[in-house]
Every structure is written in C-alpha cells, then in structure tokens.
C-alpha cells in the first residue's frame, strides 16, 4: 500500500542530490567531499527505485543493484587515492592541493 505520490519521491530525491551537490562545491575537506558524492549517488538510486516501483518494472531496481557495486568499488579506490595523497603531501584540504595551478 503506497500513499505518497511519485512526485514526492522525486522531489525528495532532487533535494538530496542538491544537498550533496553543495557539499561537493562548498566543502574543503576531501573526505567530506567524497561523502557528499556518495550522498548524490544514493539520491539518484532513490529516484530510480521510485520510478521502478510506480511503473511496475524491475529494471530500475536491478540498475540500483549495479550502482551499489560500482559505488563500493569507487569508495575503495577513492579512499586509497586520498590516503596516497596524504602520504605524499600531508594534507587533504583541497585549497592546499594546488600543485597544478601555477
């Protein structure tokens, strides 16, 4: 039994995506930026599941299944890169990582 409309789910998904987007744009800590990226991924999966449920198909759900797999791999590689960066430069603040700028 579902009472919420599809619009409500999509609006929630868009709002979550926007919050993650602002985290990526405005934060300076690389780890928090990465967390906001994950937030955006989760928001998009919410939209996919909602569409899939309201249209009585399974394709969206299966796609979310794949998104989870890719996200897990992405987090592993991304965090390894951040750790390697910290070893090399001793900082993870994005405004101090400007070696390519000049």
């Amino acid at each position: 039994m579902i009472t919420a409309t599809l619009n409500e789910y999509i609006i929630l998904s868009v709002v979550l995506f926007a919050i993650g987007f602002f985290g990526v744009l405005l934060r300076k800590n690389t780890l928090v930026i990465f967390m906001s990226l994950e937030l955006m991924l989760v928001a998009s999966t919410l939209g996919l599941v909602a569409f899939s449920r309201y249209n009585h198909t399974l394709d969206g759900n299966v796609f979310v299944f794949f998104i989870f797999t890719v996200a897990a791999a992405e987090v592993a590689v991304g965090l390894a890169i951040i750790v390697a960066l910290f070893r090399k430069r001793h900082t993870i603040q994005v405004d101090e990582l400007n070696a390519l700028k000049n």
Binding site: L6, G23, L25, K28, N29, V32, A80, A99
Partner: protein, 171 residues
Amino acid sequence: MAPALFHLFALLTIASAVGVVANKNAVNAAMSFLLCLVGVAGLFVQLDAYLLAFLLLLVYAGAVVALFLFIIMLLDTQGRQNWGFKKLSTFTSLVALGLLLTGLGTFVTRGQLDAPNPNAAGGVGAALKPYAYQLFTTYLLPVQVMGFLLLIAMLGVIVLSRKIDGPEDAK
C-alpha cells in the same frame, strides 16, 4: 499511517543530509551520513524494495561508512577550517541553487509524472526470485563486467597502497 511514515523518513533523510554537509567534524559528518542511509533504507522499504534496503544497509552503512571512519581516524585532520569560500565558488553555487530551485519549481507545478495507481499490482521488487531471474538472463553480461570491475578495483587499491618512493614534497 503510511504518509506519516513517508514524511518521517523524508525529514530524517534531509536533516541528516544537511548534517553531512554542514558538520565541521568529519566523524560527525560520517555519523550523519549513516543516519541518512538509514532514512533512505526506510524509504526503500516503503517502496517494496526490501532487498535493496537490506543491501543499502549492508554495503553502505556496513562497509562504506566504516571505511570512511577508518580513514578519518587514520588521517586525523581535525582543527582546520573547513568553510571560508572564494567569492567565485560562492557565486557559482548560488547560481546553481537558483537553477535547481527553478527546475524543482517547474517540476512541482507542471510535472505530468503521476503514474497510474501503484497499488493496482503489487510491487515487482518485493520478491527475490525476479531479481535472480533478471540477473542471470537479461543482465548476465553486466554481472560479469561488474565482477571484472571489482577485480580491477582490488588490484588498483593494492597498487595505490604501496609505499610510494620519490620526493616527499612535489611542490
């Protein structure tokens, strides 16, 4: 009952998502992210996607957030300023906020996405069997590609986590 539950989980999700972005302490941000994932899993349950709700908690809350916490503890970068933006990035994000709000407003006022009654047929994603059937017939190739992707990610992490020689400071 059900609309109250939807609003409860939606509020929990949005509030903790704001917590992820606004928290100064990275550990608190990770904890807010955990709460946000619990909210999204609750919404998945309301959408009859029980397997995905379980997987979300297992993969994200269990593995990803724990990994994040490990790295935050390992790097220990507390006591630095996290806010304080350049004018340009503040301006561009305000423009982006305006665009997103316009899009959302248009969607709310003119959206024609109302699908037919979702209760006419039960949720397709509720049972496990359709998932297995789809994964082993229609999506067989993507499953294999995913396996290969995980293998490559594992090798990449092993290579990246070696001790890196060379100059300590690249500046």
